[in-house]
């Protein structure tokens, strides 16, 4: 029953219009019933004609056969269009609703490196929601509607046959899909896991093939891949057996129902309870209406995965933001000293060092370097400063006000964080930079790119700053990517700028020149420079060294 509850909850999010769903079900039912009409009337027509009546008495049947023959493909065409349209509309709504809930959750306390994967999987989960109506709602309703109509029609002609048909439809439309869903569920979960593992192994192998070979670790890697591949193949085979059994079961139920209707009709005819011209019609009606049953077992299998994805989405949507805005926010501070006061922060086990009693002061116009090795807690400081999370103990302040008392918008309007893994969106270079301040003029954007020492490269591109970057765009090296995002941070023009490893992918001369520029720049902003490098530490006002999550005296 949790299945139904999940389905209902997702439909509440997708809010398909009842009228459109009704239209879609009507079109689907007309398609099936036109097929039923075609075969049943044709059966009647031929049976009746065998008695050689005057041809005029068959006119109605002839017209009905032709009408069904033409009406069915037309109804089917519009049915497919309508059901897809409906599915896309619901998908769009679910996507937007999900985004509204997700947005304040990111970046939550998830581990930074896994976040990309998690988010990408959520997008896949959202996309799966297009199956919700196409598989989960319309087909069962069409089954119910056409089943009811055909059983009713059969009942008028021969109640016993209706009984057979109704039980056949019930078994084929309820029992078989249920068996399919139960058998498929466990296999499915296992498959998802093995696939993820195998993909990770393959990525690693494709990336590091030369090293694996030279290290002699290739056999071990191959053995792991072979084992996973073997398991995936075994699962696929088990899955095939389930699918095959379901297919066979469906065929069996449909066939036996027709045979049952035929047997009941024939014996009724022998007993004089049914005109023999109706025998073929009743059997063919039963045969044709199973068109509404056939897709149900496969739909149940698909719905399994769709609802599993849906449950994950609903769980995310139910989560509370890690950093809520206050009910009555304090006014944005006018002074912009950013401070950490005896801040402690803990990551879940397995992650990096958190922070332990960290004090840090970044007064206006001051330039401070935060150094230390990877995992020492530098990025944690940066993310606390823009309130991506709240400290476990101590407080983070801006102009003396606790960040928790301020609106997040106000905090991030005062402090810009250029993240280490800052993202380039699939749009032009110019738009990627402009993101920081949508009202910025062209000259300002150019200046920002110049300061990030990437303007010459941008200008050398055939399309200049209108060049598309990101997934579908041109290949951008790590260094160029970083400098574009840096230009974005420069453009933001907030009083406080936090740069997290701005030179990670740059060669030393460029890195030195870039940092020299940043430090020489007298635009009055305070700067927190997070870095591994120690070359330019003499040029900043203060150096804070982190080790194992604590501030340590400089060597």
């Amino acid at each position: 029953m949790t299945t139904l509850r999940t389905l209902a909850a997702l439909l509440r999010v997708g809010r398909p219009s009842a009228a459109r769903v009704a239209l879609s079900v009507a079109l689907g039912s007309i398609t099936v019933l036109a097929g039923v009409g075609l075969m049943a009337t044709a059966g009647y027509l031929i049976s009746r004609a065998a008695e050689r009546p005057p041809i005029l008495s068959l006119t109605v049947a002839i017209v009905a056969v032709r009408a069904c023959g033409i009406g069915r493909p037309v109804a089917r065409y519009f049915d497919r269009l309508e059901s897809h349209d409906l599915a896309f509309r619901a998908l769009t709504r679910i996507r937007a609703a999900f985004y509204r809930k997700l947005e304040p959750l990111v970046p939550a306390r998830t581990e930074q490196h896994r976040q990309g994967d998690l988010l990408a999987r959520m997008v896949g989960d959202v996309d799966a929601m297009q199956n919700l109506l196409l598989r989960g709602v319309t087909p069962p309703l069409v089954w119910a509607a056409t089943g009811a109509v055909s059983v009713a029609v059969t009942a008028v002609i021969l109640p016993a046959a209706a009984l057979v048909l109704a039980s056949g439809l019930a078994v084929g439309g309820l029992a078989v899909p249920f068996v399919a869903a139960v058998a498929g569920r466990r296999l499915n979960g296992r498959q998802v896991k093995v696939r993820a593992e195998l993909t990770a192994e393959l990525v690693e192998l494709l990336r590091g093939a030369p090293e694996l070979v030279v290290l002699g670790a290739d056999e071990a890697a191959l053995a792991r891949i072979r084992r996973l591949d073997g398991e995936l193949t075994r699962l696929a085979r088990a899955d095939a057996v389930v699918a095959g059994m379901v297919e066979g079961l469906g065929t069996l139920v449909a066939g036996l129902t027709v045979v049952g209707v035929l047997a009941v009709s024939v014996s009724a005819t022998a007993g004089g309870g049914l005109d023999h011209v109706m025998v073929a019609a009743l059997a063919l009606l039963a045969m044709a209406v199973f068109e509404a049953v056939t897709p149900l077992p496969a739909a149940a299998l698909t719905l399994n995965t769709t609802l599993a994805a849906g449950e994950r989405l609903l769980a995310v949507m139910a989560r509370r933001p890690a950093v809520p805005d206050p009910a009555r926010p304090a006014p944005p501070p006018t002074e912009t000293t950013a401070s950490l006061e005896r801040v402690t922060y803990d990551y879940p086990a397995g992650g990096a060092w958190g922070l332990r009693d960290v004090d840090l002061d970044l007064a206006p116009r001051r330039r401070l370097a935060l150094v230390g090795q990877s995992g020492a807690g530098k990025t944690t400081v940066a993310e606390l400063l823009v309130r991506f999370m709240d400290p476990g103990a101590g407080r983070v302040t801006l102009g003396g006000a606790d960040l928790r008392a301020l609106r997040q918008h106000a905090v991030r309007s005062a402090i810009t964080l250029d993240r280490q893994d800052a993202y380039l969106f699939a749009t032009t270079i110019k738009e990627n930079v402009r993101l920081a301040r949508p009202d910025a003029g062209d000259e300002e954007i150019r200046e920002a790119l110049r300061r990030a020492r990437v303007w010459d490269w941008v200008a050398s591109l055939p399309d200049g700053w209108d060049t598309f970057v990101g997934e579908e765009g041109v290949q951008v090296s790590g260094g160029e990517r970083r400098r574009i995002t840096l230009a974005r941070a420069f453009l933001a023009r907030t009083p406080v700028l936090v740069l997290d490893e701005p030179t990670a992918h740059l060669d030393p001369p460029t890195a030195d020149a870039l940092i020299a520029d940043v430090l020489a720049d007298g635009d009055g902003r305070s700067l927190l420079l997070i870095t591994h490098h120690t070359t330019w530490l003499d040029a900043v006002d203060q150096v804070v060294r982190l080790r194992r999550g604590r501030v340590t005296p400089r060597r």
């Binding site: 044709a42 027509l45 031929i46 049976s47 009746r48 065998a50 050689r52 041809i55 068959l58 049947a61 032709r66 023959g69 033409i70 089917r76 065409y77 497919r80 269009l81 897809h84 349209d85 769009t92 937007a96 947005e103 930074q112 490196h113 990408a120 997008v123 990770a200 990525v203 690693e204 990336r207 030369p210 090293e211 070979v213 290290l215 890697a221 191959l222 891949i225 995936l232 193949t233 057996v241 699918a243 095959g244 297919e247 066979g248 065929t251 066939g255 035929l262 024939v266 073929a280 059997a283 992650g351 090795q373 991506f388 309007s413 993101l435 997934e471 995002t485 490893e501 990670a504 591994h532």
Partner: protein
Amino acid sequence: MRALDPRLLGRAGGARVALGADVVFGLFTTVVVVAQAVLFADVVTAAFEGGVAARSIALLAVAVAVRAVLATAYEVTGRWAAARVMSGLRRELTERRLRDAPVSETGAEAGEVATAAVQGVDALETYFARYLPQVVLAVLVPVVILAAAAALDPLSGAIMLVTLPLIPVFMALIGRFTEARTRDRWQALARLSNHFLDVVRGLPTLRAYNRGAAQAARIEAIGEEYRAATMRVLRLSFLSGAVLDLVATIATALVAVTLGVRLIEGAVTLRAALIVLLLTPELYAPLRALAAQYHASADGLAAADRILDLIDAAGEARRDSVRTGCPPWRAIRLDGVSVCYPGRPGPALDRFDLELRRGEITALVGPSGAGKSTVAALLLGLRRPDAGAVIVGSVTPDDAHPHDAELDDADLDDADLDTVDRRAWRREIAWLPQRPTLFRGSVLDNITMGCPEATTARAREAAALAGADDFVRDLRYGYRTRVGPGGQGLSAGETRRIALARALVRDAPLLILDEPTAHLDADAAAVVTDAIRRVAHGRAVLLIDHRPAAALIADRVVRLDAGRAVEQSAQWVP
């Protein structure tokens, strides 16, 4: 993309039996369908005479059971074959990637290929399990049905024969009409459909710039745009399905009405008429199934294509080495080797000579793109020279190394590296690549992965030598810290030091170090340089660097520019 890709069919190998079996099952099903139609007609005809054909009804039930078994067998056989082919493709891909001239892929590409190799199986399943057998059945089944119908009633057979070719003709017409129009739109559709993924991936960045909330409306607008655009495409592409449906149902209606009229005239028997009526929809069923599965299998074919391209790109299999084990050697030399990369104008290396001797540090310097990493690939046996040879064996006598009876070079045979067992040769090498990879696992796993027998103490010793011990111990979980994808992120300099420790722990006689001090500050670089000097004793060391400073510890310096040695000096002269 071709519907019948010879590369893919060639690999179907053992699956061919299964596919053949599927065709047999399909044909057998058709025979059962004809039998069912005959039995059905018998039962109805008997009812007209007031009888109950109990035997026919029983046989009909048997036929249903047989059909169910065949349906199961068809499904299982086809999908087993598909699973087998896909597994074969994955294995071929991975083995090829490792065996012949392994090349590393960039991150994005590796992800895409891996996804194609793993997820592509679903769509390929449709291709193998349904589409391929259906191609044969779509030709054979109509012939059987048509023959049965024509034998019973020639006129109905003629109607079927006339309508049947209409399907491919209409489909081709509509296909041509819609294809050009849809193709233009797919590009735009692809971009729209990726928009959400793009936004979600960049969500932390959007949040940092206060732009997160503003995107919600845009996501809805783009979703709506996507829907509208997709519906425009679907309106056209559903047309081909509609035509198939139309021909099938109209033909059925036509056959039914004609039969009815001729029954009144007494030109045909009830039994024949019923059988033909039941067979008519079956005539079109295989074609309709084929059309439906063509689109469904297209994705799988695209995935397979991607993998096959990569397998082909790996080049032909290398000839097997003639010797087993590695011969004793005192030097390795490149003898006038040239290497060309496809798509690059000049050669990467042009008749290049180099000799590395045990006990000597050779520095290879020069600007990036000069061919330095190609030299490493040759020595590692990851690439073969297009001209010239890589020779393992004795030291060439020269001023610095006059022929020395003590060294007993006479019993060292020179061997072409091509003839040396590659696995044995690579055991002789420790390599620090230009862009080292950390694999999923702990820091310790990463250091010992080239030398599984190494103790923790030895791994730490190597780490200390590489200047990694201090920072590794400062990680929250020390040597047990998980690194690599999904683990603790490390800086380029830290990664490099762990990779150097991985190279040093191997204790191999040939050490190839590609930019060992890149991304290191002066202190760390000094530690690393010192370590190299200490481990060089008795080993042949190749130090590749674009900075001349590295050459200070070298016994010999070779300067490489545009694939040629421009200068060789016994000692670096600043």
